[in-house]
Amino acid sequence: MPACSTVSKQRYFLQAILCAGFALGVLLWRTNGFSNYTYESARRASINKSPTALSDWQLQNESGEIISLSSLQGKRLLVNFIFTRCPTICQAQGSRYQQLQHRIAEVGATNIVLLSVSIDPDYDTPRRLQSYREIHRGKPGGWQLTRPVSQQQLDTIIDETGLRIIADDIGGYSHSESIHLVKRGKLVSIKDWDSTSLDALINNADPT
């Protein structure tokens, strides 16, 4: 770069330093100290930093009963989002939930409830939710398989959790694979579905 006059050189140098500070500051702020580069990682960091209060979700379980979040008050909920005709990750998550359910029963941690919420409520009827449980050899207690009672309820859930759902090329959906920990009506953290911290959470839970 060509040089400037002596007087303006100092001012120009200061100006350049200010620009660099501004650019660096914005990038540091937006990436949470160069640690979050994707929407999903930023969503997790935001929830971990400030838990989000959830509304009283209205869900229909596989028996056709309407349950709400408030009816599960006092329990720790491990919430995942699935659709039963998903050929990949939702099936892996089904097996994972079956393993966690087995572990919960072993430890006797009845204050932990597994909650699967369908993101395809029109297709996932109570009957199909029941089949999903049967495929994954899940037992009835401690694992609720549900669908939102309406599209509006699903939109509310998406809005409150910051979940992203997009249609894929094969008539299904691409969505977050993570597990959401809900405590006292608040979304307090988001974990990877295969995280060992979920097992630790169950192992360390107080048996009631």
């Binding site: 770069m1 400037c4 120009y12 650019a23 994707t38 929407y39 999903e40 997009i166």
Partner: protein, 222 residues
């Protein structure tokens, strides 16, 4: 305070003057298209259209704004004569919009969409062009090389990442975008290599100034 001596010659605006109305209209149309939700959604519905069409178009709009506005050039000449601030801000802005997080937010958050429509033309197009014009030859080569390296890095990340980087786009689209970036990167590398080995291709253009100079005495004599 005495005004600093003018070190740099003013930019040539001969061609820009002729294209000002057209470029201005194109610029307004582009801004409007990006602020109208249905038009913006058309671009943002596909990762390739969003990243490889809309963002470069916005940057070109900013660069054309600089080329067609003499007052803007004069203002920049006063506040950033060496183009260093423009280079820093342009780099920061480019890094900001290279993050999948921001690309995602620009598809859903109206404020982020507005931020994109204003900062990409001004922060990337305008700043980079200004910095490039004020740079020495060595710096120009470095900027070009870094631009090419960034395209290659993005191509590699998009093709190799096993994860979906943008929540708004499928992994298949991410890989398609990576393939296009790889093709662009290879094309640039091949063109630059051929240019380096055999020289410029547009020999007619190179010879143009000579023919003009040779014409000049004839006109005078007439």
């Amino acid at each position: 305070m005495p005004t600093p001596p003018e070190i740099y010659p003013p930019l040539t605006l001969d061609q820009a003057d002729r294209t000002t109305p057209l470029a201005g209209l194109a610029l307004i149309a582009l801004f409007a298209a990006n602020l109208i939700p249905s038009a913006a959604h058309w671009f943002e519905a596909s990762m390739i259209r969003h990243m490889l069409v809309q963002l470069p178009l916005l940057a070109i709009a900013g660069a054309s704004l600089l080329l067609t506005s003499e007052p803007l050039q004069q203002m920049l000449q006063k506040i950033d004569p060496g183009g260093i601030c423009a280079l820093i801000l342009g780099t920061g802005c480019m890094l900001f919009w290279m993050l999948p997080l921001h690309l995602d937010l620009a598809t859903t958050d109206p404020w982020f969409r507005l931020l994109k429509v204003t900062t990409v033309p001004l922060g990337i197009g305008l700043c980079w062009l200004w910095a490039f014009q004020r740079s020495s030859l060595l710096m120009k080569i470095l900027i070009c090389f870094e631009g090419w390296a960034s395209i290659s890095r993005l191509a590699w990340i998009y093709l190799e990442s096993p994860q979906q980087l943008c929540s708004s786009y499928l992994i298949s689209e991410q890989q398609q975008a990576g393939t296009i970036l790889l093709v662009v990167s290879v094309a640039i590398a091949v063109t630059a290599s051929l240019w380096g080995l055999f020289g410029r291709f547009d020999t007619a253009r190179v010879n143009q100034p000579q023919s003009r100079q040779s014409d000049a005495p004839d006109q005078k004599s007439e």
